[in-house]
């Protein structure tokens, strides 16, 4: 049985390129929209890539900026300057 991880963002303009980057980089990810928010489920792991966001915005992006629009997440986090990954280890 696969274990989903998820991450949710406020549905704001700042979140849009982040959500687009996640959907492009994580085949199998599913975005569910609710009022005011978007929740993305992904089987086993989900990665956010800095360069993928920067390609979309055309400007420098510090991955810790996601804190500004982040609502919630699940799974273990592995983060460095270039990527942010959620996963279940087992």
């Amino acid at each position: 049985m696969s274990n989903n991880v998820f991450i949710a963002f406020q549905s704001t303009d700042e979140s849009r390129p982040v959500i687009e980057a996640i959907m492009a980089d994580n085949p199998g990810a599913v975005a569910v929209e609710s009022p005011g928010m978007v929740k993305i489920d992904s089987p086993d792991r989900l990665t956010i890539r800095r360069d993928s966001i920067e390609e979309r915005t055309g400007t420098r992006f510090d991955l810790q900026q996601i804190h500004l629009n982040l609502i919630t997440l699940s799974g273990y986090i592995d983060e460095d300057d270039d990527q942010f990954t959620l996963s279940w280890r087992s």
């Binding site: 049985m1 274990n3 989903n4 991880v5 998820f6 949710a8 406020q10 609710s34 009022p35 005011g36 928010m37 929740k39 420098r60 810790q64 900026q65 804190h67 500004l68 629009n69 982040l70 609502i71 919630t72 997440l73 699940s74 799974g75 273990y76 986090i77 592995d78 983060e79 460095d80 300057d81 279940w88 280890r89 087992s90």
Partner: protein, 516 residues
């Protein structure tokens, strides 16, 4: 001129290490055990504090920067909402009653969380753990303040919010969240982390802050959804602290596993019982509903918790003992709780009502196994009585569970037609419980729970009347004296929504906003 400075910075992992490693030292004037007297007596063994990792690796400078930006965004929304009477755009004045539960029941918990994390942030020996707890302590103070500011606009126009802190310390249903938090704060630091960071934050706060706040958006309450999501972005760090603290304890010593398992059993159940209030907010108090309590439970507890328990199995951890009963309860607890609040509306700082036809149809579609068979007939009976001018108010006081302090309203596992009663004897007295799990919590630490301040007992003992009250005088009305002591204004803060001042005012103001 080229100004390339970004590459000379340390990488994230190095920055985090620089901020959290090598900060502590071995004390010489006093033994370490006297400087850090609390982080060993619970029996948790830590061999290497440096194994503690904050997965977000947020350093203090980044923390201040992002929190400052969040505050600016949030306060711009709060200002705009207040300036433009944004409350006139909510779906229905009944919605405001969910905010009353929030400001009276939840916001004071944020303040207690601030105190609790400040305390444990001083008392862990490891510097990384202390930094994480101190950040959380500041977050929690921020939540207390932003929630108070966001909801203050409603307090100018609606009842049931004007004495939030006073009520939190006195009113019967608010003793449920209050006693939960005080139970955690009076435990040792590792148990506190298991209680609040893991059981409450990781497993269960999503249920409050995600679907309920999305519900606030759906009901036109921009102010609440903004503070809710702004707070929840901090919660995702807190959840990470919760899961990290569990993993850290389990990996440090195999002897920690049974201690942690017992705490997980206890605090999952304690936190689940507190969230009973949220189940009712979602199913009954949001005029426009996003999802049912049952659906939220399936997504945020069953799927997410299930994935976590499967992962923790490698340490020898199993799902919490009350897990199955909690999952069965998803069909029932919101209906059982609303029934109690409806009946005791004479003594609440909020209004209740019988759901309208379309709302009952929604409940029936969301709860095919339970609503029509068990709960609809009771609501229709209430509605009929109300039609006849005999609105039902329960005038007797309920028996409370000694552990969770909720009235004994829950039903037997496997039989939702039979109330569940359990009891224990301790030093010649009898104690009552709503469930096997609340009984087991008491039986393990009876010397703690016999000290519970149970609102109903306190009323019967005469401790909930204003000073100078003479209960022996002729015509003494104990209920009126209790409301006086609570500082609840009878006929204004309490009773049915139908005919309330909130209902009349909102209709008038909305009318004024739509006509010349």
């Amino acid at each position: 001129m080229d100004t390339r400075t970004t590459k000379s910075r340390l990488g994230l992992k190095d920055r985090y290490a620089a901020m959290t490693r090598g900060l502590g030292w071995q004390t010489t004037y006093q033994p370490m055990d006297k400087v850090f007297p609390y982080d060993r007596y619970e029996g948790i063994k830590i061999h290497d504090w440096d194994k503690w990792e904050d997965p977000f690796r947020l350093t203090m400078d980044a923390y201040w920067k992002y929190q400052g930006e969040k505050e600016k965004k949030l306060y711009a929304v709060i200002d705009a909402f207040q300036q433009n009477n944004g409350f006139l755009g909510i779906t229905d004045a009944r919605y405001v009653n969910a905010l009353k539960v929030f400001i009276d029941g939840v916001t004071p918990l944020e303040y207690n969380a601030h105190r609790g994390f400040a305390h444990v942030g001083r008392h862990f020996t490891g510097a990384g753990t202390r930094v994480a707890c101190q950040m959380q302590s500041i977050d929690e103070l921020r939540h207390y303040q932003t929630e108070t500011h966001s909801i203050s606009t409603y307090n100018k126009f609606f009842s049931g919010m004007h004495h939030a802190n006073h009520w939190h310390d006195r009113v019967w249903y608010l003793s449920v969240p209050k006693s939960f938090f005080e139970d955690a704060m009076t435990a040792g630091p590792f148990e506190f982390l298991t209680a609040i960071s893991y059981s409450f934050e990781y497993l269960l706060t999503n249920l409050l802050f995600v679907p309920f706040m999305s519900g606030a958006a759906y009901n036109g309450d921009m102010s609440t959804v903004t503070f809710g999501f702004s707070a929840q972005s901090d919660e995702s760090r807190h959840m990470t602290l919760g899961i990290e603290s569990i993993k850290f304890m389990l990996e440090q010593d195999p002897g920690n596993v049974p201690i942690v398992q017992r705490w997980m059993d206890k605090w999952f159940w304690r936190a689940y019982r507190v969230l009973t209030l949220v189940s009712m907010m979602m199913d009954y108090m949001l005029p426009k509903r996003v999802m049912s309590w049952k659906e939220a439970w399936e997504i945020y507890a069953e799927q997410n918790g299930g994935a976590l328990f499967r992962d923790l199995a490698r340490y020898g951890i199993r799902e919490p003992k009350g897990w199955r009963d909690a999952c069965e309860g998803k069909n029932h607890i919101s209906h059982q709780t609303w029934n109690v609040f409806y009946g005791y509306s004479g003594a609440t700082a909020l209004h209740t009502w019988v759901p309208k036809d379309d709302e009952m149809a929604w409940l029936s579609a969301k709860y095919p196994e339970s609503f029509d068979r068990l709960y609809r007939p009771r609501l229709e009976y209430y509605r009929e009585r109300q039609r006849q001018g005999r609105r039902f108010y329960n005038k007797t006081l309920p028996m409370l569970c000694t552990t969770c302090q909720i009235p004994m309203i829950f039903t037997e596992p496997g039989d939702p037609t039979k109330i569940c009663y359990r009891e224990s004897d301790y030093l010649g007295d009898k104690y009552h419980f709503c469930s096997d799990h609340c009984k087991e919590i008491f039986d393990h630490e009876p010397e703690k729970y016999v000290q519970s301040w149970l609102p109903v007992h306190q009323i019967y003992q005469g401790n909930c009347f204003p000073p100078g009250t003479d209960p022996t005088r002729p015509g003494f009305d104990p209920m009126a004296a209790v409301l006086d002591y609570y500082a609840l204004e009878d006929g204004r803060d309490n009773l049915d929504f139908e005919g309330s001042e909130d209902q009349k005012n909102f209709a008038t103001w909305r009318g004024l906003s739509q006509r010349n």
